[in-house]
Amino acid sequence: MKPGNHYVLVIEDEQPIRRFLRASLSNEGYRVGEATSGEEGLRMAASLPPDLVILDLGLPDLDGQDVLVRLREWYSAPIIVLSARDQESHKIKALDQGADDYVTKPFGTGELLARMRTALRHAHHVGPESTTVTIGELRVDLAAREVQRKGERVHLTPLEYKLLITMLKHAGKVLTHRFLLREVWGPQDALENHYLRVFVASLRRKLEDDPAQPCYILTEQGVGYRFAAEIP
């Protein structure tokens, strides 16, 4: 799908941010709608459902989190939230309440566009089409449950494999600790975050060239992990 077909709604009260988003998104071929408050945003989204929503968490009238919750009551397309750097708890909350991703202010256009592309891609085809996924030097055969790195078979424990598949399924998207723990270990196990950290470390040792400078499993400190969608 060409970006030109996508309608993006920006809910943001700061005029300079809106101006720069309008300029850069239009330049990329998106159609852009602008709302300056939470109420206006909800109204506009209802009258013409957008393909993607960019929502600022700090709005004057409504709490951004409330807008998110109300939007998610009926709206299923991607939502990307904008937040400040030191608000990890807000980011986690937004993600848990249905946001697809976040961008930390200040941000570059390139970063935002990459996130939007990932979100739109996930929105349009759920699940991998083929049974094999290749990212960088990593090849995962979903049918055979086999992982290869640089052509060599990598041995993963069942939980490691499940963790990798879960992240792969949402490649490019940030996944919170809670989400991953629930997906991999199941909802009944109330495990702590460090459980996940140890498994990620072990997975990195098996998959990455330098586990201290990973290029597949990226850390979103204080929030969770993101599996790289493409290797630069």
Binding site: D86, T157, E160, E192, R197, F199, V200, Q213, Q221
Partner: protein, 899 residues
């Protein structure tokens, strides 16, 4: 009213009292001589008029007694709903003081001032409720019968033969600003009674009938009229003193009443109160302790009861220690300028008095210029203790020892006689006498008597002809026996006194040294918790009981600061009692009239500015041991603690003020330093963007440079702001680290990713052992440390340098290093670089840093209990060493076994 002349202090006190009067409510009493004279009716009628004049009148409590007239008068008044209390299955209706305090009416009507509240109420007596209302600034009208006045209680008991249990301290009666005497002739009253207009239940009619005899009523009426008249007289006196300056003044009187354990003392105390009122003189109630009774004995209990009565009646109480009752009393009386001494007539038999003398006689003999009044004592059976507490355990051991001693002496004397070393009977007697004296000295009175009898018997049996019979040939041995017995008695009683005095002196010494020690301890301690802990444990040790300390909280219930595990803390009344004590700055709890159902005695921590809290003390056999001295001792401890708490608070305030000033200083430095750093990138952005906007034709290369400038400077501005915000959060301790178990590798990786743009062109080496334990840190903050160190390295080393990150276990801590192979640190700045706004110069690319990066690193490590230091390596290049203490146990996560 101690002094009759108006001296400046008195005048000042009066002005203060008048000022206090502005905030304190006034009390008006409708005063009558018996039930049924129409006090409630008069009060309601007056209140009706007051309300008509626009006063906010509320009925707090009025006994209706099912009198239609009263009920009719009640109509139209706002009435505070009664509080219902369950007591042994009966619902009791009581005045709700809290509702009244909440409502704060202009005038509150509370019937029956002398009423005793139901158990479980805040106060034992209604007059205490009224006192609290007055203190809260609420004006109160109430009613009172003459027989309820404490000091008249016994007189009225004599007149009417009916003992009134509900009594009221005289000072409460004196508190009334105005008194309205409600009078009715006895004949009319009897008539009303017969018409059934006076409340009476059928069962009580008989008793009431005897009370309501005309003769009784006439006497009561006279007392009431006289009481009212004497009040008016006192009022006139007070007025005269306030106004006149030169008037003939009577010399000041001061009364002292001797208090003993004898049940007749109560009457003597009441008489003293009446006399004191008549003379308008202060009075002291004093006892001399030389008996050494254990504190739980009935005697001590009686004494404590008498002291409480005296205190209720307004006396200053004191226990004296001394050898001789008379001398001690007289000495104290002279030191306090006492003019009159009251003492109860002794009940001892004439023989006893002749043999041992009597305090009364001695007093009369030696009193000199002081008048001595001997009051006929009369037992008040109801004042007697209801529960006889256990006597000290009787022990047979001293008796056995005494018997053994005499037997030994007998053998010795016999042996001496056999060996013809001594033939004189006088020597044998002397030997026995010595033994008896020793027994008396060592074993007390009982064994002494036993030993003297034994001594006489064995002397008679073994030494006096006819030998080996108890027959006495000569009557003169009766004298021997008498002398021995007398010596035994004298020595044992002297010894007992001595013991008691030594015990008392020891106790005093113990208290004094405990107070001294407490004072020393408190002055060397800081912090509420420690002060309270020190005082609490000291007091608990001294009184050998449980102690709880409650501290005043601003606009909240008092906080239990000591004795959380005590039974006091668990008692439901403790918290309200503590709150009341703190608010009123008065004692309460067990053994007092306020909240007596509490399980401990509560007294206030009276500071110089206000009450700081309350101490609760619970003793095993509580009642008997809280003698006036002990209370005074506790109060002294309390005062010391209160002052220490105040001092502590002042120190905290002072240091807070200093911190505030320092923070202000830091803020100013920050502002001046930051404003420069902020202006530079702003100027660059503004300049570059305006060139882009204004220039008509601009070549592609220049355009690109200008845009890069904008982007770079914006990034710099962002970084600077981030740093400032983070630093201020760390400074303000607003950041509580969100510690979780982290993998160091992940934190380093995440930091490297954040600074990957700056690291372009550098070689980064990461060497982390695989077996590192999990770290309990705030991941974001530790990542920030690495980000700042990496940025710092890129700033001070040329491109192409190598940056190495290593970590190793070092004992109980983790040692993390970040090294580069750049030029290293300038000499002598290893410590300065961690200060705020310090920039090492020369800087590779013109001072891009905020001057905060390393300060933030140090603040973060401080927050984690770690350290960070910098040095130049011997081979060149800077080295930053981070040490992080490892917790005793880190969680282990096992990856499941391969299949």
């Amino acid at each position: 009213m101690r002094d009759q002349r108006p001296n400046p202090d008195d005048l000042l006190a009066r002005v203060k009292a008048e000022e206090a009067g502005l905030t304190q409510g006034s009390l008006k009493l409708f005063f009558g001589y018996a039930a049924g004279v129409g006090k409630t009716y008069a009060m309601l009628e007056n209140a009706r008029r007051a309300r008509a004049n626009g006063l906010d009148v509320v009925v707090g409590y009025v006994e209706p007694h099912n009198r239609p007239e009263t009920e009719a008068l009640l109509e139209g008044f706002e009435i505070i709903p009664v509080k219902k209390l369950e007591y042994r299955g009966i619902t009791l209706r009581e005045f709700d003081i809290d509702a009244a305090l909440e409502r704060r009416p202009g005038l509150l009507l509370v019937d029956e001032l002398a009423h005793t509240n139901a158990p479980g109420s805040r106060h034992e007596k209604r007059w205490q409720d009224v006192e609290e209302l007055l203190k809260a600034g609420i004006h109160v009208w109430s009613t009172l019968n003459v027989q309820h006045i404490e000091s008249l209680n016994d007189v009225i008991g004599q007149i009417t033969g009916v003992v009134v249990r509900e009594t009221l301290p005289d000072r409460v009666f004196d508190l009334a600003e105005s008194l309205e005497l409600v009078d009715l002739t006895p004949e009319e009253l009897v008539g009303r009674l017969n018409e059934g207009k006076v409340y009476v239940t059928e069962q009580a009619r008989q008793a009431i009938q005897s009370f309501f005899q005309t003769a009784n009523l006439t006497a009561l009426r006279e007392l009431a009229l006289r009481q009212a008249a004497s009040r008016i007289h006192r009022q006139v006196e007070t007025d005269r003193r306030n106004q006149a300056v030169r008037q003939p003044w009577a010399t000041a009187e001061r009364l002292l009443v001797c208090v003993g354990p004898s049940p007749t003392t109560a009457r003597v105390i009441r008489t003293a109160k009446r006399m004191a009122s008549a003379f308008d003189a202060p009075w002291l109630a004093v006892s001399v302790d030389l008996t050494g009774f254990p504190p739980s004995s009935p005697t001590s209990q009686q004494l404590a009861q008498h002291f409480r009565l005296a205190e209720r009646l307004g006396a200053e109480t004191m226990t004296l220690a001394g050898q001789d009752v008379t001398d001690t009393i007289l000495e104290y009386a002279r030191s306090r300028n006492v003019t009159k001494i009251l003492i109860g007539k002794t009940n001892a038999s004439r023989w006893h008095r002749l043999l041992f003398g009597s305090v009364v006689d001695n007093l009369l003999e030696r009193s000199g210029e002081i008048d001595v009044y001997v009051i006929r004592g009369e037992e008040e059976s109801r004042e007697r203790a209801t529960t006889p507490p256990g006597r000290p355990a009787w022990s047979g051991r001293p008796y056995l020892k005494a018997i053994g001693l005499i037997a030994l002496t007998g053998c010795l004397a016999y042996g001496l006689k056999r060996l013809h070393l001594t033939d004189a009977e006088a020597n044998t007697v002397m030997l026995f006498l010595a033994a008896v004296a020793y027994a008396a000295f060592r074993y007390g009175r009982g064994p002494a008597i036993v030993s003297s009898i034994l001594a006489v018997l064995s002397f008679d049996f073994f030494f006096i002809p006819p030998l080996h019979t108890f027959a006495i040939a000569d009557a003169q041995y009766v004298v021997t026996f008498g002398v021995m017995l007398a010596i035994a008695l004298v020595i044992s009683s002297l010894t007992a006194r001595l013991h008691a005095q030594v015990e008392r002196a020891r106790e005093r010494e113990r208290q004094t040294s405990a107070l001294h020690e407490l004072g020393k301890q408190l002055s060397s301690l800081y912090g509420k918790v420690f002060l309270v802990g020190a005082a609490g444990s000291k007091i608990a040790e001294m009184v050998d009981g449980e102690v709880a300390i409650y501290l005043r909280q601003p606009s909240a219930l008092p906080e239990l600061a000591f004795g959380q595990d005590s039974t006091i803390a668990k008692h439901p009344v403790s918290l309200p009692a503590a709150q009341w004590v703190i608010e009123q700055d008065q004692v309460a709890g067990a053994g007092t009239n306020t909240l007596p159902n509490a399980n401990a005695f509560f007294f206030p921590l009276t500071g110089s500015q206000r009450t700081q809290g309350a101490i609760a003390v619970r003793l095993p056999e509580h009642e008997y041991r809280l003698t006036p001295e002990r209370k005074r001792f506790l109060q002294s401890c309390g005062n010391q603690l209160a002052l220490a708490l105040e001092r502590d608070q002042l120190a905290i305030d002072a240091s807070e003020a200093r911190i505030k000033a320092e923070a202000e200083q830091v803020r100013n430095t920050l502002l001046s330093s930051v404003s420069h750093d902020l202006k530079t990138p702003l100027a660059a952005i503004a300049g570059a963007s305006s060139s882009l906007l204004e220039a008509d034709s601009i070549d592609e290369e220049t355009r690109r440079q200008l845009i890069e400038t904008v982007a770079d400077e914006a990034a710099r501005l962002h970084r600077l702001l981030e740093n400032i915000l983070q630093m201020s959060r760390l400074d303000a301790h607003a950041a509580t680290p969100n510690k979780q178990w982290h993998v160091l590798e992940e934190i380093v990786g995440s930091a490297l990713r954040r600074v990957r743009r700056e690291l372009e062109g550098y070689e980064v080496v990461v060497r982390l052992p695989a077996n590192l334990p999990l770290l309990h840190v705030d991941g974001l903050l530790l990542e920030q440390v690495y980000v700042n160190l990496l940025e710092n390295a890129t700033r001070y080393t040329p491109r192409g340098s190598t940056i190495a990150i290593r970590a190793a276990l070092d004992g109980r801590s983790l040692r993390m290093t970040l090294t580069d192979n750049g030029p290293g640190l300038p000499l002598g700045v290893e410590e300065q670089i961690f200060a705020k706004f310090f920039r090492a110069s020369p800087v590779a690319d013109g001072g891009r840093g905020s001057g905060l990066g390393l300060a933030i690193c140090r603040a973060i490590l401080d927050l984690h209990g770690g350290t960070i230091v910098a040095s130049t390596r011997p081979g060149g290049g800077a080295e930053f060493i981070i040490r992080l203490p490892l917790p005793g146990k880190s969680p282990r996560v096992t990856i499941e076994q391969d299949q």
